[in-house]
């Protein structure tokens, strides 16, 4: 079909026929990237989204890494609610998980900065510091040849962030808010990451369950061609909540 007169036909970019180098590294957005949009679309009551995380006693590093991401994401929720005590609680949880993971040395300065910034109600600094904390932990893990654990940190954070988003969207449903869940590339990334892990990690009960859950979430996202329904949002929320609950349920 000819382009309309007076306009130049523009050839669409086809990523599958890209002649250059594809950079596989995926930068997972921090929860506050999504939260900031929700704030622009209304005034969610973030205080209702804060929850206390019961950190189980565990020496399972996969679980601890997932929990670490979860707790950092919880910190982002607390910042959004501008709740000093909840931020400090997340900061203290970060310290105890870092100790359990043997990463105190690299994490303590960040955790202290979070606690100090909470005293000053410096929300911008706290957001930055939570992002730094997560990055430091992931980089340190990668340096220790624990790249799989580093991915678990991102995964735990994404699950908690997405659970909060679905909760806020459900309370005041709109197409614009629900569209924030259109994140199939990130879900595919996590599924592929788990798939590439060594069998011993991939077959971990939690990761097997998370992979199944992510498949279900991906199906919901991919079928939302005409936008997300309330039911789809609720389903994604239920799946994320169930997985988070499995992460926090300690096995003796």
């Amino acid at each position: 079909m000819a382009a309309p007169q007076g306009t130049q036909g523009v050839q669409n970019f086809d990523p599958l026929a890209f002649p250059g180098q594809v950079v596989d590294d995926v930068v997972v957005p921090v929860p506050s990237e999504v939260f900031s949009v929700l704030d622009k679309l209304g005034e969610p009551n973030w205080n209702h989204e804060i929850r206390e995380v019961d950190i189980p006693t565990s020496s399972d590093r996969t679980r601890l890494s997932l929990l670490f991401g979860y707790v950092v994401a919880e910190g982002f929720v607390a910042v959004q609610a501008e709740d000093k005590e909840a931020v400090k609680e997340a900061g203290r949880d970060v310290i105890s998980l870092a100790k359990a993971l043997g990463l105190s040395k690299s994490v303590l300065p960040h955790a202290q900065s979070i606690l100090d910034a909470a005293d000053r109600s410096d929300w911008k600094a706290i957001r930055k510091e939570f992002d730094r904390t997560q990055q430091t932990v992931r980089v340190t893990m990668e340096e220790m040849k624990d790249a799989d654990l580093s991915q678990c940190v991102s995964l735990g954070g994404w699950l908690r962030g997405t659970a909060s988003v679905t909760s806020v969207v459900k309370k005041a449903f709109s197409a614009d808010r629900a569209e924030l869940l259109n994140q199939p590339m990130l879900v595919e990334h996590f599924v592929a990451t788990i798939g590439k892990m060594p069998a011993s990690t991939r077959e971990h009960d939690l990761l097997r369950s998370i992979r199944k859950g992510l498949d279900a979430v991906l199906e919901r996202m991919e079928s939302a061609v005409d936008g997300f329904t309330k039911d789809a949002v609720a389903d994604i929320g239920i799946t994320c909540e169930r997985l988070l609950s499995e992460i926090t349920t300690a096995k003796k």
Binding site: V10, N12, F13, D14, P15, F18, P19, G20, Q21, V22, V23, D25, V26, V27, V28, P29, V30, S32, E33, V34, S36, V37, K40, L41, K124, R127, K128, D131, R132, Q134, Q135, D176, E179, L180, L181, N182, Q183, P184, M185, L186
Partner: protein, 153 residues
Amino acid sequence: MNSPWNFRWIPVRPIVFTSFLLAVWTSPLRATVDESHDYCMEAATPFVEQGFIVREDYWNGEVKSGQKLMISHQLFKGNEYAFWLGSASSGVQMDIKVFDEKGQPLSMDKKTQEHFMSVRVNPPKTGTYKIVFELKSKDSTESVLWALSYGYR
């Protein structure tokens, strides 16, 4: 007494020398990788003053001059994004384009300076976007070190 010492010196010296060479050779390279990110942060400074939040995670690497690179990235409608591409090499020409899921280019505000460029985009939809960029050095056979950071508000 001399014999054992001489015997020891022969194998040890090349290792020490190689380590020294490696240290000398890799130190500037490392510095350059970090420098590319430093330029990104320099590019980001005026954006921070305008309320952008800079992410700590970023992409970096080394690429043949003129070779295009593509990154897939999640963007959320309602946020404004800025991407900062930096290179420690001098005289590098840079370009960034951002495409939506249908392969349509997004309109954006670009600014280029020596060592870095910045672009701002307002994604029309929430979803996966392709960031395509290239760096061309004066010497086309040279490889270029790069870093790409982003922020949002």
